[in-house]
């Protein structure tokens, strides 16, 4: 039997049927709470953010400056050698204009998200963050940006201690 038989089993449910009473559904929620450890490397990275600094780690073997920092160099597969402070500026590696939230609902305002290559890290290395105070059409691959920090008293050791990035 091949596809030429054109018979594939299944009972599709249309949205109007789903919302009506035609079928039985069992609904429930099970909210799960977690408390994640930050780990050896990211704990120190977060401490740096709280102090208004972006930190990386260096691997002396491959000579890379790793951002986000790790406790070990995954390439050389050995402990990272030293902590270094990198700059809080960088350039846009790639970006997107998001119109949706994580549950696929629409955002009230579009959000520019970007992978930002951090100055002082090895080429192509950076992290995900958001860019504000600029029209989406004015952002490009290669656009230079800097971190806008929350006030020292508001910083708690979070990626959100960097409020956002802005073009300069």
């Amino acid at each position: 039997m091949g596809m030429t038989d054109n018979t594939f089993p299944g009972t599709p449910i249309q949205p109007d049927e789903w919302k009506g009473n035609r079928y039985f559904f069992k609904e429930a929620e099970f909210p799960l709470r977690y408390s994640w450890d930050s780990g050896i490397a990211i704990s120190r990275f977060l401490q740096g953010l709280k102090e208004g600094r972006i930190l990386g780690t260096k691997c002396f073997r491959c000579k890379r400056t790793l951002v986000p920092p790790r406790a070990f160099c995954e390439r050389c597969f050995r402990q990272a050698d030293e902590w270094v402070q990198v700059k809080d500026t960088g350039k846009v590696n790639t970006y997107s204009v998001s119109y949706v939230n994580s549950d696929a609902s629409r955002r009230s305002e579009p959000l520019i998200v970007a992978v930002i290559e951090i100055d002082g890290a090895s080429p192509g290395m950076g992290f995900l963050h958001v860019i504000r105070k600029i029209e989406p059409s004015e952002v490009h691959v290669g656009t230079k940006v800097h971190a806008v920090w929350k006030g020292a008293s508001e910083r708690v050791g979070s990626i959100l201690d960097i409020s956002h990035f802005e073009v300069y």
């Binding site: 009972t11 986000p68 970006y95 994580s102 696929a104």
Partner: protein, 385 residues
């Protein structure tokens, strides 16, 4: 290693929501695959099942939950999972068992029921991101696709129009697939004018979320020849994963996929994939991914897949038909089942059983590929008649 053949295939309809449970869908696809090979559950030595995150179903131990639907109880049973790459990893894991001599007949099943999660299945993907550095930013799965698409467009000067052609082709091909969820005749303009979700990703650049299942049966050479006089051989398998530090990688090119492809090509003795692969089912959850993956699979040079698409080379009647099934964009994207659908499609194409979707070119050697996790997994099988 022993030679391994595909001797049967089956699948359910792919739809946004199905009345059937995951277990029932797995049964329907498995039963159809067994029927197509004239086999019964008792003939099956071992079962390999793939299904993506448990969060969609809200059922932990989903592999065990699906056991009965996959005909697996009282048998050696394995669930495999490599994100979206799972669908093509299932037959690879089944291949290990037959090639090694551990089993003569393996039932390989891909199942996905995404619809239970409310308000949208998309939400489950939130938890694939780093909990400390990425989730606080309000991340959605679409971001990584949009970021990768933008980087790809930048690296090779690819336009949104070039990319839209893939959606037009695949949704059009799906018009001939009787199980398809989103078959459509659309134009490039329709894609460009569709609602932006995460620019450059627009509504019609994206595959839907789906419920569905698909299954294939693998057999050793001597057993396969007793089951059918038309076996399709799996002559190459390859798989590879890149680092999770995705913000440190060049997103414009899937290097891990090239490694997976080279592994499969070496095994299959393929030296020039562009010339030696007759038909390809390339993973296309988004339209740009087909182009990106064709390049990683060495079916096109870097940045050259859009040109092949524009010239019609990848059309059903072209020299290198890509996604004649209609792909994930047209048939639907029940994750693990979607990859298996591609393997089934190559099986049907090589046997000349693809009906109205049959490619014009005589097809002797085909390829199926899937991709997943944080843009880091490549899974590839090469199949030959």
């Amino acid at each position: 290693m022993r030679r391994v053949a595909v001797v049967g295939a089956g699948m359910t309809l792919f739809r946004h929501r199905m009345l059937e449970t995951g277990k029932e869908m797995a049964f329907e696809a498995s039963r159809q695959a067994l029927d197509s090979a004239g086999l019964e559950r008792k003939d099956v030595d071992s079962v390999v099942l793939g299904s993506a995150p448990d969060a969609f179903d809200g059922v932990h131990m989903k592999g065990e939950y699906l056991t009965d639907g996959a005909g697996a109880f009282n048998k050696p049973y394995t669930r495999v999972y490599v994100g979206g790459g799972t669908g093509v990893f299932i037959p690879i894991a089944a291949w290990w068992q037959v090639a090694s001599g551990m089993a003569d007949i393996v039932l390989a099943v891909g199942e996905e029921k995404m619809s239970p999660l409310q308000p949208h299945p998309q939400y489950a993907f939130w938890s694939i991101f780093d909990h400390t550095l990425e989730r606080p930013l309000g991340v959605t799965l679409l971001w990584i696709f949009a970021l990768e698409m933008r980087r790809y467009m930048h690296a090779y000067s690819v336009s949104e129009e070039d990319i839209a052609l893939v959606a037009v082709k695949n949704k059009g091909n799906a018009m001939d697939h009787p199980a398809a969820q989103l078959p459509a005749r659309i134009t490039v303009e329709d894609v460009l004018k569709s609602e932006p979700i995460c620019w450059p990703v627009k509504r019609l650049d994206v595959s839907p979320t789906s419920d569905g299942a698909a299954a294939v049966i693998l057999a050793s050479e001597d057993v396969a020849r007793k089951i059918t006089d038309d076996p399709v051989w799996i002559t190459g398998v390859g798989w590879n994963v890149d680092t999770t530090y995705w913000t440190n990688r060049e997103l414009a090119y899937p290097e891990y996929l090239e490694k997976a492809a080279r592994m499969a090509y070496k095994m299959a003795g393929v030296e020039n994939p562009r010339r030696e692969i007759d038909v390809a089912e390339v993973y296309d959850p988004f339209d740009y991914k087909e182009l990106h993956h064709m390049e990683g699979l060495l079916l096109a040079g870097k940045g050259e897949a859009p040109k092949l698409t524009k010239e019609g080379v990848t059309g059903k009647d072209g020299d290198l038909p890509v996604n004649p099934s209609g792909g994930l964009l047209g048939v639907g994207n029940p994750i693990a089942a979607a990859g298996m659908m591609k393997v089934a499609e190559i099986f049907w194409q090589l046997r000349g059983e693809a009906g109205r979707r049959q490619v014009k070119k005589p097809a002797k050697r085909g390829l199926a590929q899937a991709w997943g996790d944080l843009m880091q997994v490549g899974t590839v099988v090469v199949m030959e008649r």
